[in-house]
């Protein structure tokens, strides 16, 4: 009797502690860049919120899972889908901001101007990588001869090393890999201030309203992990070891964890405040310029909801 009363009292005082499950759709392979998420997931679990991370082949499939209600939370930046689809989907947290590196084979090109009339290779049509390259072309007054699409930074990295690709854009870990494999062969072109989300969290509005407490716990833990990383990038390495995450990571990739997070902290890709309104505004501007968003009247409230973030931030301060 006393035990039952204890349980009732516990759940009444702490509703988030009631076992809640969030089905999380990830449109990528779980790798070192997902470590902050994995740590937050472990910590949320201890607070009674189970986050089931399911990796899908692409962001589109993860988005479909959220639209159709098979997943609760998705990871990515499907702004075009949010704009067009009839189900109200809202972004609520910025995981990371964009960190990409335009890279060229030094033998052929040395500056942005050299890319005038040349072929470049990006991730996909309408992707962030294409948007960055187009923005830079506009900034430097150049026009590419052709834009080819090769999905996956790792595939483009191999193409660069093999010599089949001469100018492309890579994420941080693949940029480091290419520079290490062929020292002196490639050059990173300077990138102006491109501010947009690389990965953000989104969910159906109805789910966010129904599961406020659970979402708040996840967001709180994500912010906490980001703040720890920004304070000390080595903390994620220690946390990985402590929690036994990504145990089967090859030694080569294991060595890349610390440099990746150090570089991320230097370039400020892990927000301390979950992005918020600034991230939302920057994203709308970036995806409007990239052509992914077509509507002339882009309102932040049609894409983002800030309630989960505000709830989490109020508990952290």
């Amino acid at each position: 009797m006393i035990r039952s009363l204890f349980f009732i009292a516990f759940f009444f005082v702490n509703p988030a502690a009631a076992q809640t499950t969030i089905k999380y759709a990830l449109g990528d392979v779980v790798s070192i860049d997902e470590l902050p998420l994995l740590v937050a997931v472990e910590r949320a679990k201890k607070r009674g919120v189970t986050v089931q991370v399911q990796a899908f082949k692409s962001e589109e499939i993860a988005t479909q899972a959220v639209i159709n209600g098979q997943a609760d939370v998705g990871q990515g930046t499907p702004y075009a889908a949010v704009e067009k689809v009839s189900v109200p989907i809202r972004f609520f947290y910025q995981l990371t901001s964009l960190q990409f590196y335009p890279i060229v084979n030094r033998e052929f090109y040395k500056t942005w101007k050299d890319l005038d009339g040349q072929e470049i290779v990006v991730h996909a049509r309408g992707s962030g990588t294409e948007a960055i390259m187009n923005l830079m072309a506009k900034e430097h007054g150049i026009k590419y001869r052709n834009v080819s699409f090769v999905p996956g930074s790792n595939v483009r990295a191999i193409g660069l090393l093999k010599g089949t690709i001469k100018a492309s854009i890579l994420d941080a870990s693949n940029k480091n890999y290419v520079m290490k494999e062929a020292p002196g062969k490639f050059l990173i072109l300077p990138l102006g201030q491109v501010k947009a989300s690389d990965e953000a969290l989104f969910a159906r509005e109805e789910f966010l309203q129904k599961s406020q407490a659970a979402v708040s716990v996840l967001v709180e833990e994500l912010i906490r992990v980001n703040r720890e990383i920004n304070k000390d990038p080595g903390s994620i390495v220690a946390e990985r070891r402590k929690l036994g995450l990504l145990k089967d990571l090859p030694a080569k990739l294991e060595e890349e964890i610390l440099p990746y997070f150090k570089e991320g902290v230097e370039t400020g890709i892990f927000p301390n405040d979950g992005g918020g309104e600034n991230a939302a505004k920057n994203d709308l501007e970036f995806f409007r310029l990239s052509g992914a968003l077509k509507s002339p009247d882009l309102k932040v409230e049609k894409f983002w909801t800030f309630a989960p973030l505000k709830a989490a931030l109020s508990k952290l301060q």
Partner: protein, 243 residues
């Protein structure tokens, strides 16, 4: 004839009607009604993007099918006529026929990169086993009494092959080509979705990524229609050539 046409028309009307209902219900927020898909298809035709996409998609498909047609039939005939060639090459084609190609196609990029060669190879890997096996079976299944007749009339081996075996196998060889084209369509779409998005694969990937589902479905419906019509045309030609 008119009655058959009527039934076919009714079948299409029923299918598109159900599609329209499913889209309006909707079965999923990403499933467009037939009417929206038809409008999107029209827009893709008018703005020229569908034409450009087919120009890019049909190049590796045509190259792959021509290669398979020449080499595949050659291998098939060789296997049918010679036990040594059969012993040497049959296992390769049996394995290729059984292998899950969607898992193997991404591996091609490790050797041949991401260009046209990989896509032609993807078409070849799917189409070749069907073409080769049909040619081989066609040759091997030549009626023994016809061969005996040729020999009893003192026919040479050359005459036996040219006047009995090949004409007898022609129908099955042609069926192999038709089925090979069907596999080729599967191969090129898988390659364009898995290797690099170009042509039809690019239209599907792009419209899916920007959530333009009517255009995505319109592209898929168009490639299904093109493949079905091509195969139907070949089937009619086959019936006329080998009644």
């Amino acid at each position: 004839m008119i009655r058959r046409f009527g039934w076919q028309l009714a079948s299409f009307a029923l299918f598109f009607g159900l599609w329209e209902l499913a889209g309006r219900w909707p079965v999923s927020a990403a499933f467009p009604p037939f009417s929206n898909t038809a409008v999107a298809l029209w827009e893709l035709v008018v703005d020229g993007s569908l034409g450009k996409a087919y120009w890019l998609t049909l190049q590796p498909l045509a190259l792959g099918i021509v290669l398979c047609g020449l080499a595949g039939i050659g291998f098939g005939i060789g296997m049918g006529l010679s036990r040594s060639v059969e012993w040497l090459t049959l296992p390769v084609f049996v394995i290729l026929q059984a292998a899950p190609m969607a898992a193997i196609i991404p591996l091609i990029t490790y050797v041949y990169g991401i260009g046209l060669t990989s896509k032609v190879l993807a078409v070849t890997m799917l189409a070749a086993p069907v073409i080769v096996m049909n040619s081989y079976k066609g040759i091997r299944n030549t009626h023994p009494s016809l061969l005996q007749m040729c020999r009893s009339f003192q026919g040479t081996r050359r005459q036996e092959v040219l006047k009995i075996v090949l004409p007898h196998a022609a129908a099955l060889i042609f069926t192999g080509l038709r089925l090979g084209l069907a596999m080729g369509f599967i191969g090129i779409v898988i390659a364009e979705l898995l290797i690099t998005p170009t042509g039809i694969g690019d239209l599907i990937t792009y419209h899916s990524s920007v959530a333009d589902y009517p255009r995505m479905f319109a592209t898929i419906a168009s490639i299904v229609a093109v493949a079905a019509l091509s195969l139907h045309g070949l089937e009619r030609l086959e019936r006329r050539l080998f009644p």
